[in-house]
């Protein structure tokens, strides 16, 4: 690993973490959503650097381009683009939440330390889309088809739930 690669990796990581912190501290939902989009873009850069360009492109297309647009669309539809009074919990609850998340972070860091061989088993290859597609359409074909059913159910459910009158 050369120094420029490492610098880029830390740079994208820093962007992701700082944007995530800004995201959870914004009171207004719209800037929060935009900071989350920033996290998605930084993560996409990290994916590309981790030899997963296909996942990086899908991240930008699906997460930043579709899911977050739906979020912002709902915020505008419900006219929520302002800070709500009771959004943040009380100070004690916030302190407790900070303690819980710090404890979780410590747990995660301890668990992931020194458990796995840290050197890649296979050297990096240029073409990573072909193995992904081969795996997706042979070994995981049933799961792949089931996700299409899940998406269909989600579409029907979303339309039914968001309809003006739901007659049950």
């Amino acid at each position: 690993m050369n120094g420029f690669y490492q610098f880029q990796f830390y740079f994208f990581s820093l962007i992701a973490i700082v944007s995530a912190l800004l995201f959870v501290t914004r009171k207004n939902p719209v800037p929060a959503a935009l900071w989350l989009v920033n996290v998605m873009f930084a993560l996409s850069g990290l994916y590309v650097m981790l030899d997963a360009p296909f996942v990086g492109v899908i991240q930008v297309l699906v997460y930043a381009g579709a899911i977050m647009v739906v979020f912002v669309f709902v915020v505008m539809l419900l006219n929520l683009g302002r800070a709500e009074v009771g959004d943040l919990r009380s100070l004690s609850a916030r302190l407790g939440a900070g303690f819980v998340s710090l404890a979780l972070l410590a747990n995660l860091l301890v668990v992931q330390r020194d458990r796995l061989p840290r050197t890649p088993l296979a050297p990096a290859v240029d073409n990573v889309v072909t193995p992904v597609a081969a795996s997706l359409f042979t070994d995981y074909l049933v799961a792949f088809e089931l996700t299409s059913v899940v998406l269909l159910v989600a579409i029907i459910g979303a339309v039914l739930l968001a309809k003006k009158r739901v007659t049950v």
Binding site: A52, F71, A97
Partner: protein, 97 residues
């Protein structure tokens, strides 16, 4: 770089948990869930460098399910807003004794 990616993933996941625990706005809670899913995806991609491309397949599945979850969840948020006039979770106290 795998270690660093896993550390970043852990930090992002903890930030997502922090958001879920400190906020009451349902839309922000959903966005925090998306942040946690993204953190897990980063772990999958990092570990795919060790264990082959299966991790990428998992990431694709997670993204699909996240899209479905966002669609249904936001539809529920719209219904809740129609019913209660707000998306604050503390307003949903119908089941409180």
């Amino acid at each position: 770089m795998i270690n660093e990616a896993l550390i970043v993933s852990a930090i992002l996941f903890s930030i997502g948990v922090l958001g879920v625990l400190t906020r009451r706005n349902a839309i922000i809670l959903f966005m925090c869930a998306e942040l946690m899913l993204n953190a897990v995806n980063l772990s999958f991609v990092a570990l795919a460098k060790l264990h082959g491309v299966t991790g990428h397949v998992f990431v694709v599945m997670v993204m699909t399910i996240a899209a479905a979850e966002a669609a249904v969840g936001l539809a529920i948020v719209i219904s809740v807003f129609r019913q209660f006039g707000t998306v604050e979770m503390s307003a949903l106290r119908t089941l409180r004794g």
